[in-house]
C-alpha cells in the first residue's frame, strides 16, 4: 500500500509541476489542483496508513491512542482542502479577468 500511495503522490506531483511550468493559464490552474492533491495526500500520509481505524472515539472510558488513525494530519489536510478550493476559485477569476483585459490566456498577459 505504502509503495502504491507514494508512487501516486509522485505521479500527481510530477503532472502538477509540469503543468505549472506551462504557458497557458488553464494549464496552470489544472496543475495547481493536481499539485494540491499530491501535497494533501503527502501530509495525510505523514500520519501513516491505517485501515478501518478512523479517529472516532467511543463515548467516555479509556482511550488507546494506538488503536486510531492520527487525527492531526487529517485536521491539517481538511483545512488545506478548503484553502486550496478558495485559491483555485480566486485564481480562476483572475485568469478570466486577465483574459478579458489582455485578450490572451498566456500567463504573462501577452503572447510570446
Amino acid at each position: 500500500m505504502e509503495f502504491v500511495l507514494s508512487a501516486a503522490i509522485g505521479v500527481l506531483a510530477a503532472s502538477g509541476i509540469w503543468l505549472l511550468l506551462r504557458p497557458r493559464t488553464f494549464q496552470v490552474i489544472i496543475g495547481l489542483c493536481l499539485l494540491s492533491y499530491a501535497v494533501n495526500l503527502f501530509i495525510f500520509a505523514m500520519g501513516r496508513l491505517w485501515l478501518g481505524a478512523p479517529p472516532i472515539m467511543p463515548r467516555g472510558g479509556f482511550v488507546n491512542p494506538a488503536a486510531y488513525a492520527d487525527p492531526m494530519p487529517q485536521a491539517l489536510v481538511l483545512t488545506a482542502i478548503v484553502i486550496s478550493f478558495a485559491t483555485t476559485a480566486l485564481f480562476l477569476v483572475v485568469i478570466i479577468v486577465s483574459r478579458g483585459m489582455t485578450g490572451t490566456d498566456h500567463v504573462d498577459g501577452q503572447e510570446r
Binding site: S6, V63, D105
Partner: protein, 961 residues
C-alpha cells in the same frame, strides 16, 4: 519616589503636548502654541524642582520594567550635564513656539507642525535622558525621522523634499552605525546600562574591538553634527520653515552629535586615535565651514555653514578632552544655541518682512527695522566673538585650549594657527551679514516693503539677545556653577572648580582673539564687494559640491545600478520565475535531506490490496492525461482532473479518514462546476500553435519534463521513507485522549477544528470570506474579450429550445433534489461533532443544492423563485463564529474556549450541544455564502452579457421575436 515620577513626567510631557495638538483644528495656531508652550513650561518647572539634588552632584534614575523577563527596562537618568542640556532644549523650544505662532501663515496646517515639533522635542529629550544606550539609539533615530518630517513640512516644494530626504539618509545611516557601535559596546562592557558603560573606559579602550567601535560611533556623531564630509545635509535642511531651523540647528538635532561626543569622551577618548579623528575632523570642519559661510549669498545658507563651523569647534574641544576643553565645549554648546537661535529667528523675520533672503538684494534695513537690526547685530557680534558677549568667552576658552600643549603631535602644534584663521573667517562672515543687510543704501525692488515684525514675533529674539549680554558680562554669577557641575558629571566629582572670568590679563588667547577680529575686519574690507559679486562658494571650491556628489551617488545606488541589475538578472515572465521556485524547492530539499534520509530498519508495511493498486492505476493515468490534454482539450482535462480527484477521495475513505473523503468529494463537485463555468470565458483553441512545434519549444518542454520528473520521484521517495517509519508519539495522541473529555465530541478531527484549534478555523473561514468577496469584486467590472461575447454555438434559439426539452427530465429530478439536499446538509451538520460531517461539509452541500437549481434552470427562473443573499450569509456566519469566541471572554475564559454538553430533545434524542456547535453554525453559514457567491458571480456573467447584447443590438432581437 517623587523625583522618579517627576523625571518620568518630564520625559512624557512633550509627547502629551504632541497628542494634544493633533486634536486641534487646522487653524488653531494660538491654541496649539499655548497648549504646547504651557506643557513645556511645566517641564521647566520640574527641572527647577530637580535642580537641588542634581546641583549637589546626585544622579537621579527612574526605571519602568518593560519586558523584565528579557531584562529590558526603560531607564531614564539625569545628571547635571543632562539637566543643563534639557533646560536649554526646553527653553529654546518655548521661544521657538512663540516665534512660530507668528511666523507660520494661516494656511499652514497647525496640528502637523506643532505635533511634529513636540514629538521632536520629546525624542531629543528622550535621547538626553536615556539611561540605556540602546534606548538612546532609538530616540536618536526618532530625532532623525522627525527632523525629516519637519524639514519637509512644506512638502509642496522640491527643495524641502530633497533637503528632508538627504537629512534622513545621512543621519539615518549614521544612526545605524551608532546602533552597531552601541551593540558592540554593550557586548564589551556586558551591559547596556549607561552608568556601567561610562565606568568602563579602560576596559573599552584596551579591547581589540575598540577601533571598530570608535569608527562606527564617530560616524554616527559626525553625520548628526554635520561634520565634514557629512556636512552637506545641513544647508539642504534650510528649506525648512525658519522656526524649525532655529530649533534643530541651534539647540537640538545637530547638538545631539556633540552631546554624545562629550558624554562618551571619558569612555572612548584619551587615546591618540580619538584625538586625531575627533579633533582633526572638528578643526577641518571649523575652518572650511567658516570659509564657505563667508561666500554664501543666502542668509540662512551663511548661518547654516556658520553652524557647521561652530559644531566643528565643539567637536575639536571634545577631541582634546582635557577638563578645560570639556568645560569649554559645554559652554560653547549653550552659547552657540543662544546666539544661533536668535540669529535664525532674525533671518526669519527679515525673510518674512522683505520676502527675500538674498544678501545681494538686501541692504540698509536698519532704517526700516531698527530694533530687529540692533538685536541681530548683538547676536552676530557674539557669533564673531566680540568681548563682553557670551560667544567671546567660550571662544576665548577654545583659543586657550588650542594654544595649550597636549601631546606635541603636528595636529596639536597647528591648532592655534587653524583656530585663529577660522576666527578671522568667522569675524568676516559675521561682519558681512551685518554690513550688507542692515547698512548701506536703502534696498530697491524688494518683494515686500520692509517693516518691523509683530512685537511678539520679536520677543523670543529679545530674550535670547538679553541672555547673550547677561552671560557675556556676568559669566561667573550666571552659568559658572552650572557649567562646573555639568563638567563634573562628565569627568568625575573631584574635578576642581574652574572660574569663568572675562578678564585674564593680556595672554595668548586674548592676542589670538584680537588678531582674529582685526584680520576679519581687514578681510571683509578688502574683499567684501568681490565676494558679493562672485559665485556662491569659495574660489575653486564652488565647482565641487558635496551635495551634488551625494545626489549622484544616490541616483546610482537607488536607480541606475538596481535597474541594470534588474535588466541583467530579472524577468517579468512568470514561467522562469516559477521554474526558479521549483528549482529552489528542489535544491533546499536535496541539501537538507542529503545523507539524512535512510529507509527505516523495521519498515511499516500495510498488506497491498490489488484493488487499491488498480484504483491508482486509473488515478495516475487520469493525472497524466489531464497534464497531456490541458492545452488543447480543456474539457477533457477537466474530466480527467475530476477522475484523479475522485481517486484521491476514495483513498481518504480507504485509509480511515472519512471526514476528508466527504469534504474532498463535495469540494470536488464545486470546483468542477466553477471551472466549467470559467471555461466559457477562455479563448477557443482548436488548431495547434505553430511555434510549439519548433525546436526551442521542444527543448523547453523537455527541460520542464525533466524537472517535473525529478520533483515527482523525489517527493515519492520522501513519502515512501516517511510512511514506512514507525510512528513516534505526537500531539495527535493527546487529541485522541481528550477529544471527548474536553471537547465533548467523538469525531476527533471535527473537535480539533471547532474546539482545540478553533482559532485556526476562524482564520481559515475569514480567508474564505475574503476570497469570495474578492471574486465578487473582481467580476463586477469584468469586461470579457469580444470573442467570448458571441453566443456559444448551441445557444441559438432553436438549439436552446431543444436543449430545454432534452433536459426536461433531469431538470425535474434536480428540482426534487433540493429538499433532499437540505435534509442531507442538516444531517451532516448535526452529526458533525460525533461522526464524519460538520459545518463545512454541510455548507458545501447546501450550496450544491443551490447550484443544482441553477444548472437545471435558467438563472432568471431560479432567481424569480429563490432569493439567496450570499454576502449576508457570509457576514452573519463570520459574526456568529466571532461572537461565540468573544462569548468565552464574557465568562472569563480566553477567546474561543468551548463548552460541551448533551441535550435531550424530544423525538430526536440526545444531541450534542457544545458551544462549538454554535461556532460550527457560523462556519456553515459562511461556507454557504462564500461558495454560492463565487458560483453565482461567475454564472451571472452570462446573464450580464446577454443583457449587454440585448442593449447593443435591440433590432435583431425584436425581429427574432
Amino acid at each position: 519616589m517623587i523625583q522618579e515620577n517627576l523625571l518620568l513626567t518630564l520625559a512624557l510631557l512633550p509627547f502629551v503636548a504632541a497628542l494634544a495638538t493633533t486634536t486641534l483644528s487646522a487653524q488653531a495656531h494660538g491654541a496649539a502654541a499655548w497648549v504646547s508652550g504651557l506643557l513645556l513650561a511645566a517641564g521647566l518647572a520640574i527641572l527647577g524642582i530637580l535642580h537641588g539634588p542634581i546641583a549637589a552632584g546626585q544622579v537621579l534614575h527612574s526605571t519602568i520594567r518593560w519586558v523584565p523577563s528579557l531584562g529590558l527596562n526603560l531607564t531614564f537618568r539625569i545628571d547635571a550635564f543632562v539637566w543643563l542640556f534639557v533646560t536649554l532644549v526646553l527653553g529654546i523650544a518655548i521661544l521657538v513656539l512663540i516665534y512660530a505662532r507668528y511666523y507660520l501663515s494661516k494656511n499652514d496646517p497647525v496640528p502637523r507642525f506643532y505635533a511634529f515639533l513636540m514629538l521632536f522635542t520629546g525624542a531629543m529629550m528622550g535621547m538626553l535622558l536615556s539611561g540605556n544606550i540602546l534606548m538612546l539609539v532609538v530616540f536618536w533615530e526618532l530625532t532623525s525621522i522627525l527632523s525629516f518630517l519637519l524639514i519637509g513640512y512644506w512638502h509642496q516644494g522640491q527643495a524641502a523634499r530633497d533637503g528632508a530626504r538627504m537629512a534622513l539618509i545621512v543621519t539615518g545611516l549614521g544612526g545605524l552605525c551608532l546602533l552597531v557601535a552601541m551593540l558592540l559596546l554593550g557586548k564589551i562592557v556586558g551591559s547596556y546600562d549607561l552608568d556601567r558603560v561610562l565606568d568602563s573606559g579602560d576596559l573599552v579602550r584596551n579591547h581589540p574591538l575598540y577601533p571598530a567601535v570608535l569608527t562606527l560611533f564617530l560616524l554616527g556623531c559626525f553625520t548628526k553634527s554635520a561634520q565634514m564630509p557629512f556636512h552637506f545635509w545641513l544647508p539642504g535642511a534650510m528649506a525648512a520653515p525658519t522656526p524649525v531651523s532655529a530649533f534643530l540647528h541651534s539647540a537640538t538635532m545637530v547638538k545631539a552629535g556633540v552631546f554624545l561626543l562629550v558624554r562618551f569622551s571619558p569612555v572612548l577618548g584619551q587615546t591618540e586615535m580619538w584625538f586625531f579623528a575627533v579633533t582633526g575632523t572638528g578643526m577641518a570642519t571649523l575652518l572650511l565651514g567658516a570659509l564657505i559661510a563667508l561666500f554664501r549669498h543666502d542668509l540662512k545658507g551663511l548661518l547654516a555653514y556658520s553652524t557647521i563651523s561652530h559644531l566643528g569647534l565643539i567637536t575639536a574641544l571634545a577631541g582634546i578632552g582635557s577638563s578645560g576643553a570639556i568645560l569649554a565645549a559645554i559652554f560653547h554648546i549653550v552659547n552657540h544655541a543662544i546666539f544661533k537661535a536668535s540669529l535664525f529667528m532674525a533671518a526669519g523675520i527679515i525673510d518674512h518682512e522683505t520676502g527675500t533672503r538674498d544678501m545681494r538684494r538686501l541692504s540698509g534695513l536698519m532704517r526700516f527695522m531698527p530694533v530687529t537690526g540692533s538685536l541681530a547685530i548683538v547676536a552676530s557680534a557674539s557669533m564673531a566673538g566680540v568681548p563682553l558677549l557670551n560667544g567671546f568667552l567660550s571662544k576665548e576658552m577654545f583659543f586657550a585650549e588650542a594654544a595649550d600643549w597636549h601631546n606635541g603631535t603636528w595636529l596639536d602644534n597647528s591648532l592655534p594657527w587653524i583656530a585663529t584663521l577660522a576666527g578671522v573667517f568667522a569675524v568676516a562672515y559675521s561682519l558681512r551679514f551685518i554690513a550688507t543687510v542692515f547698512f548701506g543704501p536703502p534696498p530697491v525692488d524688494l518683494p515686500h516693503q520692509p517693516h518691523e515684525p509683530p512685537a511678539w514675533m520679536r520677543r523670543p529674539v529679545e530674550a535670547l539677545v538679553l541672555l547673550c549680554l547677561i552671560v557675556g558680562m556676568l559669566p561667573g554669577l550666571t552659568l559658572g556653577p552650572t557649567l562646573n557641575q555639568a563638567a563634573q558629571a562628565i569627568l568625575g566629582p573631584d574635578l576642581p572648580y574652574k572660574n569663568i572670568a572675562i578678564w585674564h590679563g593680556v595672554n595668548l588667547p586674548l592676542i589670538m582673539s584680537l588678531v582674529a577680529l582685526a584680520g576679519g575686519v581687514a578681510l571683509y574690507a578688502l574683499f567684501g564687494t568681490r565676494i558679493a559679486a562672485g559665485p556662491e562658494g569659495p574660489p575653486l571650491m564652488h565647482h565641487f559640491r558635496a551635495q551634488k556628489l551625494f545626489e549622484r551617488l544616490i541616483l546610482l545606488l537607488t536607480w541606475k545600478w538596481p535597474r541594470s541589475l534588474y535588466q541583467f538578472i530579472g524577468t517579468e515572465r512568470l514561467q522562469p520565475q516559477l521554474r526558479l521556485v521549483v528549482l529552489v524547492a528542489l535544491t533546499v530539499a536535496t541539501v537538507t535531506l542529503w545523507g539524512v534520509l535512510h529507509p527505516a530498519a523495521e519498515a511499516l508495511s500495510t498488506p497491498l490490496n490489488p484493488a487499491f493498486a488498480a484504483m491508482w492505476l486509473v488515478g495516475g493515468s487520469c493525472a497524466v492525461g489531464a497534464a497531456w490534454m490541458a492545452k488543447y482539450h480543456r474539457f477533457a482535462a477537466l474530466v480527467l482532473l475530476g477522475g484523479a480527484g475522485a481517486v484521491t477521495c476514495l483513498t481518504f475513505a480507504w485509509l480511515s479518514a472519512p471526514d476528508l473523503a466527504v469534504t474532498q468529494l463535495l469540494v470536488e463537485i464545486v470546483t468542477t462546476a466553477l471551472l466549467l463555468l470559467g471555461l466559457r470565458w477562455l479563448p477557443k483553441r482548436r488548431e495547434e500553435i505553430a511555434e510549439d512545434k519548433l525546436r526551442p519549444a521542444r527543448v523547453r518542454r523537455a527541460r520542464d519534463l525533466l524537472l517535473a520528473l525529478i520533483a515527482g520521484v523525489g517527493l515519492a521517495t520522501l513519502a515512501f521513507v516517511m510512511m514506512t517509519y514507525p510512528l513516534v508519539p505526537s500531539v495527535g495522541d493527546w487529541f485522541l485522549r481528550n477529544a471527548y473529555k474536553e471537547g465533548g465530541g467523538t469525531n476527533v478531527v471535527n473537535v480539533i477544528l471547532v474546539d482545540f484549534r478553533a482559532f485556526d478555523t476562524f482564520g481559515e473561514i475569514t480567508v474564505l470570506a475574503v476570497v469570495a468577496v474578492t471574486v465578487y469584486a473582481l467580476l463586477r467590472r469584468f469586461r470579457p474579450d469580444p470573442e467570448s461575447l458571441a453566443l456559444p454555438e448551441p445557444q441559438d434559439a432553436v438549439a436552446q429550445k431543444s436543449l430545454a426539452e432534452t433536459l426536461l427530465v433531469p431538470a425535474v429530478i434536480m428540482r426534487w433534489m433540493f429538499p433532499v439536499l437540505l435534509v442531507l446538509a442538516a444531517y451532516l451538520f448535526f452529526r458533525g461533532h460525533d461522526l464524519p460531517g460538520g459545518g463545512f461539509s454541510a455548507g458545501v452541500t447546501l450550496s450544491i443544492a443551490f447550484l443544482l437549481q441553477y444548472l437545471a434552470h435558467d438563472v432568471r427562473w431560479v432567481e424569480a423563485r429563490l432569493t439567496v443573499l450570499p454576502i449576508r450569509w457570509i457576514g452573519i456566519g463570520l459574526l456568529i463564529s466571532g461572537l461565540t469566541g468573544v462569548g468565552a471572554f464574557v465568562l472569563g475564559y480566553p477567546f474561543l474556549t468551548a463548552h460541551a454538553q448533551y441535550v435531550e430533545l424530544p423525538l430526536v434524542g440526545q444531541v450534542p450541544a457544545a458551544t462549538a456547535l454554535l461556532f460550527d453554525t457560523g462556519v456553515f453559514a459562511l461556507v454557504v455564502g462564500a461558495t454560492v457567491l463565487m458560483l453565482i458571480a461567475i454564472a451571472h456573467q452570462s446573464l450580464r452579457m446577454a443583457r449587454l447584447r440585448e442593449r447593443d443590438a435591440p433590432q435583431p432581437e425584436k425581429e427574432a421575436a
